[in-house]
């Protein structure tokens, strides 16, 4: 089934002509600025039909895209961030957390669920950029670690969908150690002989890139995502030179050998399903 539909000429309209249109009916593409109807935008999985720009979507949307019949059971959504250092910069971390929870109706920047993909029971953990930039807190690390453990115990394929600015500075070294924690859990998962598919989406940077996101048996990415360890600004300041065109894009990473393939959001379910059927089915126990 194709999710990707090119919209007819009549629907496309430049934003300038749409200024008076009430919000909610039209969506302006972040990249090409062309406005399309929200209905079409959503049915196209929030990919701009004009330029192919993949807008950020939340964890729940990925669960709906990937799990068969959009059916899944959420896991570990009782875990939320604490404030171990009583951290305060220009704002209190506590207030940032409260605001993020209120705005997103989420408990953290990561969610996990279990369901079936192409009939094979699979665990997915996905990050949410709206929650403090998808940053890695102790709670995010714990949710991911438990999702990995769940896949290990239930012997299911594992998918982690990354979308993160990197560390949560307000948790300092606690945040840093989540890199080791998730990577150690993945080392144990490796022994199951089941596939771990890491999907990198825009943006995947910092400590997330330097841990679970780069450790997939298959590292795959959505088109034109920003993926890197150091941020482009930091690199530019360090080397004192402009960065090459397309630097740290999905395509750049594939060219340099760190991404297996790039996948359009509309093909995501099918491609991942095929991979799981190719290599992940044999070792899965009790998938009835």
């Amino acid at each position: 089934m194709s999710w990707y539909k090119r919209l007819s000429e009549g629907i496309r309209t430049k934003t300038e002509d749409k200024k008076s249109t009430p919000d909610g009916l039209w969506h302006k593409c972040e990249s090409c600025k062309i406005a399309i109807s929200t209905k079409d935008f959503l049915s196209n999985l929030q990919v701009c039909p004009e330029c192919g720009h993949h807008h950020k979507i939340d964890a729940e949307s990925y669960f709906k895209i990937l799990f068969d019949d959009q059916k899944f059971t959420k896991l570990f959504n009782n875990i939320s961030p604490a404030d171990p250092l009583n951290f305060q910069d220009t704002k209190k971390y506590k207030d940032r957390i409260e605001k993020a929870i209120a705005n997103t109706k989420l408990n953290e920047a990561a969610s996990a669920a279990i369901g079936k993909i192409s009939g094979v029971k699979t665990v997915i953990a996905a990050m949410d950029f709206r929650f403090i930039g998808g940053s890695m807190s102790s709670a995010v690390g714990e949710i991911l670690a438990r999702a990995i453990d769940k896949a290990t115990q239930e012997t299911t394929p594992l998918i982690i969908i990354s979308k993160s600015g990197g560390a949560r500075m307000m948790e300092a070294a606690f945040s840093l150690m989540q890199m080791a924690k998730t990577s150690a859990k993945l080392a144990i998962y490796q022994k199951t002989g089941l596939p771990y598919i890491s999907l990198l989406t825009n943006p995947t940077t910092g400590g997330v890139t330097a841990s679970f996101a780069m450790l997939g048996d298959f590292n795959i990415a959505e088109p034109k995502a920003l993926i890197g360890f150091a941020g482009p600004r930091v690199i530019k300041e360090t080397i004192g030179k402009d960065l090459p065109q397309g630097f740290q894009s999905s395509e750049f990473l594939k060219e340099h050998g760190f991404i297996d393939f790039i996948v359009h959001r509309s093909d995501l379910k099918q491609k991942i399903g095929n991979l799981i059927l190719l290599v992940g089915k044999k070792k899965v126990k009790s998938n009835t």
């Binding site: 709670a139 150690m177 080791a180 080392a187 890139t209 330097a210 450790l215 360090t238 630097f247």
Partner: protein, 317 residues
């Protein structure tokens, strides 16, 4: 000796003392009393300053240009050190040294970030900022240690993994990630010691151990206080506050159960008595070897994974 900005009074006193000693040596005036007085003031003032170091001051100490670096520890602690070079893929990264040698009678694998002492060395060592090749070399040699059943000692001292174009092209993130995953299941004991700066993924890339220790005046966190200030306060002026907020000292890290031990430094910092600093690190290594000698490999790995698995504080309702 190089004085840090918070040691300004000490620097002035030291200058006065040196002048007095010079006069004394000229033999015209007897300066004995002045010299004695100055010496005792210096001692008192040093105690005063070092009794209550702020977190930012400890960060400065961790970067003292005369502080012992990895190769200094190796020279003092390890006999018959054989350095091994290269990641077998791209090149030899000189920001990270690795090899085998002996601590007394025990063969060990030793790996550490290396900073430079002068401009030329600093460039050669890239200020202790490793590229992916460094992390891959480290892993290659750690795997050798596993093969030969030799314990691994890592010395951490880096302002961060290098943020450069080539580093990204060659997969800085992947290299560090791979080390985290592989180190967590290596079947030999691993001791990690922060000897200077422990900045973020660049530090953790050789930091997954059964025991993690920090020297008294070092720091370890997800970001430097300066960068934290620039991101959260949007300017560079809040580094002191950032250092406080990050709770990045050895004492803090021990209290937060993110490391296991703090190693005492000579009074006033490792640079004031490098030999004693090396002696203390050597004792720590020997204690580690003793404690882990009988450990079964599967248990070792299980405990290590569990140890990092337990890190973090969160709510669960």
């Amino acid at each position: 000796m190089v004085f840090l900005e918070f040691e300004k009074t000490l620097e002035d006193l030291q200058e006065q003392l040196e002048k007095a000693e010079e006069t004394q040596s000229e033999g015209k005036v007897d300066m004995t009393e002045t010299i004695n007085q100055l010496s005792s003031i210096i001692e008192k003032e040093t105690k005063n300053i070092y009794k209550n170091l702020t977190r930012w001051q400890r960060v400065q100490l961790s970067r003292h240009p005369e502080r012992p670096y990895t190769l200094d520890y190796i020279n003092h602690i390890i006999s018959g050190f054989i350095e091994l070079h290269g990641d077998r893929l791209v090149k030899d990264d000189k920001a990270l040294v690795a090899g085998f040698g002996k601590v007394d009678n025990q063969t060990v694998c030793i790996i550490g970030h290396q900073k430079g002492r002068n401009t030329k060395q600093r460039q050669e060592r890239n200020f202790g900022m490793a590229n992916p090749e460094g992390y891959r070399k480290a892993l290659r040699i750690m795997k050798l240690a596993e093969k030969f059943e030799v314990p691994i000692i890592t010395l951490i001292d880096t302002p961060g993994a290098y943020p450069g174009i080539e580093a990204e092209e060659r997969g800085q993130g992947e290299a560090i990630a791979r080390n985290l995953m592989e180190m967590s299941v290596l079947k030999v004991p691993i001791l990690c010691v922060v000897i200077g700066e422990g900045a973020s993924g660049g530090a953790l890339g050789i930091g997954v151990g059964d025991r993690v220790a920090m020297l008294e005046h070092t720091w370890y966190s997800v970001i430097s206080p300066e960068s934290c200030s620039s991101i959260l306060w949007r300017n560079w002026e809040h580094k002191e506050e950032a250092a406080e907020a990050l709770q990045l000292t050895a004492e803090d890290m021990l209290k937060n159960k993110l490391i296991d031990r703090v190693i005492k430094e000579p009074f006033g910092g490792a640079h004031r008595n490098p030999e004693l600093a090396c002696k203390n690190v050597k004792s720590e290594i020997k204690r580690f070897i003793r404690d882990y000698r009988e450990m079964n490999a599967d248990e070792l790995v299980k405990n290590r994974v569990e140890k990092f698995g337990q890190m973090g504080v969160y709510h669960e309702d």
